[in-house]
Symmetry: C2
Subunit: 695 residues, 2 copies
Amino acid sequence: MSIYLHDIPLPEAKACLEAALKEANLWRVLGTETIPLDENALGRVLAEPVWAKVSSPHYHASAMDGFAVRAEETGGAQPSSPLLLPCSPAPSLPSSSAQYVDTGDPLPDWANAVIPIENVEALDEKGEITSAIRAPKAIRIRAAVTPWSHVRALGEDIVATQLVLAAGAVLRPVDLGAIAAAGHAEIKVARKPRVAILPTGTELVPIGSELKPGDILEYNSLVMAAQVNGWGGEAVRFPITPDDFEAIVARVQEAARDCDLILLNAGSSAGAEDFSAKVVGKLGVLLVHGVAVRPGHPVILGVIARSREAATKQSPISEEIASGASHPRNDTVPIIGVPGYPVSAALTAEIFVEPMLAKWLGRRPGELPTASAALTRKVASPGGDDDYLRVAVGKVGGKVLAAPLARGAGVITSLVRADGLVVLPRGVQGAEAGEQVTVHLYRSKAEIERTIFCIGSHDMTLDLLAQFLAEHDRRLASANVGSLGGLVALKRGESHLAGSHLLDPETGVYNLSYIRQYLSGVPVKVYGFVGREQGLIVRKGNPKGIKGLGDLTRPEACPAKSPKGEPSRRVQYVNRQRGAGTRVLLDYHLNRSGIAASSIQGYSQEEYTHLGVAAAVASGRADCGLGIPAAAQSLDLDFVPLFQETYQLVIPKVYAESELLAPLFIVINDKDFRAAVAAMPGYNIGEMGKLVAEI
Amino acid sequence: MSIYLHDIPLPEAKACLEAALKEANLWRVLGTETIPLDENALGRVLAEPVWAKVSSPHYHASAMDGFAVRAEETGGAQPSSPLLLPCSPAPSLPSSSAQYVDTGDPLPDWANAVIPIENVEALDEKGEITSAIRAPKAIRIRAAVTPWSHVRALGEDIVATQLVLAAGAVLRPVDLGAIAAAGHAEIKVARKPRVAILPTGTELVPIGSELKPGDILEYNSLVMAAQVNGWGGEAVRFPITPDDFEAIVARVQEAARDCDLILLNAGSSAGAEDFSAKVVGKLGVLLVHGVAVRPGHPVILGVIARSREAATKQSPISEEIASGASHPRNDTVPIIGVPGYPVSAALTAEIFVEPMLAKWLGRRPGELPTASAALTRKVASPGGDDDYLRVAVGKVGGKVLAAPLARGAGVITSLVRADGLVVLPRGVQGAEAGEQVTVHLYRSKAEIERTIFCIGSHDMTLDLLAQFLAEHDRRLASANVGSLGGLVALKRGESHLAGSHLLDPETGVYNLSYIRQYLSGVPVKVYGFVGREQGLIVRKGNPKGIKGLGDLTRPEACPAKSPKGEPSRRVQYVNRQRGAGTRVLLDYHLNRSGIAASSIQGYSQEEYTHLGVAAAVASGRADCGLGIPAAAQSLDLDFVPLFQETYQLVIPKVYAESELLAPLFIVINDKDFRAAVAAMPGYNIGEMGKLVAEI
């Protein structure tokens, strides 16, 4: 076994793990079990081929309700010259020429065809038509039949001894039926590998906890357990272990008693409290520490000895594959140190755990469908890593597009929103806008066909719009690149619509001048969507009594008049970054009110998001900042409404009239949707759906 | 409600059912339940949108181990002119200019950036570099940082109040993580609809039963239960009910107590023992009897009243969607009479049950990916039905091909082998060979890319080959059209290889003359595969002591010499149909031995398969017939080996040298594969893998 302590390329890391598993005789189906053939077998993996024990049908069966006959005796029957065949009510009477059979009945030995009941006249002893169809004296037929008509021949479906399903088949409902038809009541399947998931970290708190700063919700174990179960394994979630070397060692040993794989979550970096590598080193062999993938760098791969207690007691692991001494009970347990960031953790499991489970179950590794798509923007990538880029995928005017999503390893919503993954391989320094890339799709192509691609300024009501569009069989994929970015994307033909709130400080009119400037040559329609309040986010109870922009320039109270201990009346402001729509709005109104920016304390203190402003207020670092009410609400702050901002939808004419976007217009004219928007704090729906301009 | 008693088009049938469900207020999410957010939530369907309760991160968090700083204070730091920042070990001390933070720690209020530890020199009180990295007196930096570098800003991932997931989302592992990150510990999901599955039929026997002629293994309830569970419902399988009107009524009433849907399997035709329609009529309203689909014609759709007992007791149904009086507890239960043939049953469930469950769960109906493919042969279709054709799909020389599989509704293996479905719509009278059709794919496109398409004569060893190829990441799809049909398919470019055993009666040489005649212009390689025994299939113990073809012309023993009761020594033969390879083989050897066909009793009695011959012998209808040992074995008969037949693989040169087929040559030269074939009765592997000819 080779040991790597620095980032190594992914294929090398995988090869190293594979070699170690082979050496430990763990690169194979781990074990099998015989289970009853019932609906719980769905999704299990066949450990051996299924050969038919019986044929199906296991006799020549009538395929219809009708009369069994000898085909040779029907020759010459015609509409104009019918033929009479005598009947016998008793089965297998070789003298009879026709005998009634129900669907599924065995064909009498002497017969080789069935005439369906509807093609027969049943006759009584007098030669009259009778309704006693099951026991007539004779039948009259008006057409000949060929041998084996309306007969399900023995073995038509399955011939005893034939292969019904190959080993490695992941059982589907119809497979279960075929196995039953082949005479089996039990099947041998790969046993489910047990995967221990060990969250570690003093800062971790369980799902649903009240949060203090520094607390981190532990949900990686939930995500990985669901992944493992979905891949056919059996996840065992352990409670949170604090960052304590001995405690982690003890927990790993406990897990090593009867699990097949251990996922040790977080502590895989090289920090002071990152114990994973040391734990693996103490209990076994550290094979790899650091893999050149992004996100997911600090992966640890190792193998440790199974804890002693297990060797003596009967554990699930002991039902090993039954092929004699060549597969002795295994004493080695692979362990993976999984990085702590949620995106890294989920991707590490996809990259390392899924293929291992596939091997242990004897099935093919999962594979995502792929599509070729054009990147909507340039992406930088560290050339040394395989870079896993999450993308939203949509089809705009016949072009399939991939819009890169937030890249942070901590942004789990980037995986939730991702329609697929693009792998920028090692040695490639990013990709240009417009470059064709291969997307591994999380969604079906049909889903992508009904995706409305919305790139521009984000607004909370777009979430609501997405919810309502889903009921109309449309998916809204939105990427937040700001209003101007949205117009540029429209111009480049990379989205179906843009949300925009660009105020022209000269005219006080929204969007139109920008559209004329940036979208020349693209006929667009501009629709009113929402008016949204902007105002000052202030502390709960508004302790400084801030009422408007005028308060931002309050002088420090005269020290003489200010009793000791009374807080300053002066207002500390927090601003948005240059170029932000909210900053433009502030400047426009300061200008209109004749307030000098330089007179505002904190004007140069910049935050990059509405929430950043709210957080600055919540922490006491500022008294107020201009923003939207939802940001105040989300941090339980108060809000002083000041301005109404206009947020419009800009839609190229060709899409405004498309079938794809038709449900959008249904929704924005739907009273339930409007009521839902109006119920959100600070929104006005007076202009919703109105055609503002056609340019 | 309209009532149809004759076949109606599928869309009309669906609309009729939908209308009845709407009238009964059942065309909606049936009910919801709140479940803990754990790994069992995987695959459940959100009944309401998830809005974030908390932001994630819920504070400005350090993204690295390093030092929190004010970005403005780092300006001017350069490799050549480093900057010193004093440190404070205590958090939130506004006077400090740098403070150690671990990954995930809250940023001090005064800070707005983090410098990673590896970009910092930690200094002690003497200004010397120290290893006490967590509590230095000062740090030396050699580059400025921008605000918010290496900081995970509050709400970077999720902003409190934002939409995390829309209602109707089918939960994936990462979705569970995002919901947890948004502050939820429980979720509201659609409750699983309970689907009762009622097999009926006196001829039915449970899976695993010893079979007598006329017995039918009951496995439709297994297939449908697995389907229902896989679609997100909860299947309840009832025991087999015999064909007895009152018994079925009682069983349906029992199921109607606490299930949401009843699937009454078989008895849906119009035969004497088909009670389903009468049962539905007695208990409620028969909406539709007969839908113009094939297979699956005799579908029954109806609604019945929920049994009384349920109205008073607390049942799972009572947790209805909580929206007041507009959703009273429902007293109607839809019921579907599902046809008895297994393919019909499975397709009926796909067509009617899956969309109903989707509606009840609030998710989109499932949809299969589609591909365009060329039909390999002409298909006749009754113009009055939507015709669901099962096809094998492969890609040969760049062309995607769909080979129609066995069409019988009783052939469940046609669903197991199907790579997809082609729907020939009502009003279309079949399709021509070569016609482009849309295939709804059961397999991924990647699977189809690695499919080896083998069309020709079938042999049992191809099953074994399929099993071994699966281990080399290839799928063997084989269609049985006979040897000559296989050569024709090769000529038309519709397969990668053909199995062939065409004996030239003039020369006694296999295949070559036929290849020259039918494959001119296609360079092919012919490989030896197996020698297979043909011989006489005789009754167990060979009571007539048959040793060879000479015995087929035994005269009737002289009556004087034959003691009364001793069976006749004369041999009754059963033949294969004209054109079958086995018939050609017989005639060739009769000719060589100078035996006249007319002297064989039963020469004109024809069966269409090896197994048909074996069945004729087993039933006593014949004493022997020429065939293969596996057919004898599968019906527990004896076998008299006579001839060695040559079964070869014919492969166009272009495919013989392709990467796709490379594993085929690995397998046929693999000793394990050869041993497995040699272990099958009657096979000889002497020629396996030898290049016989290049033409």
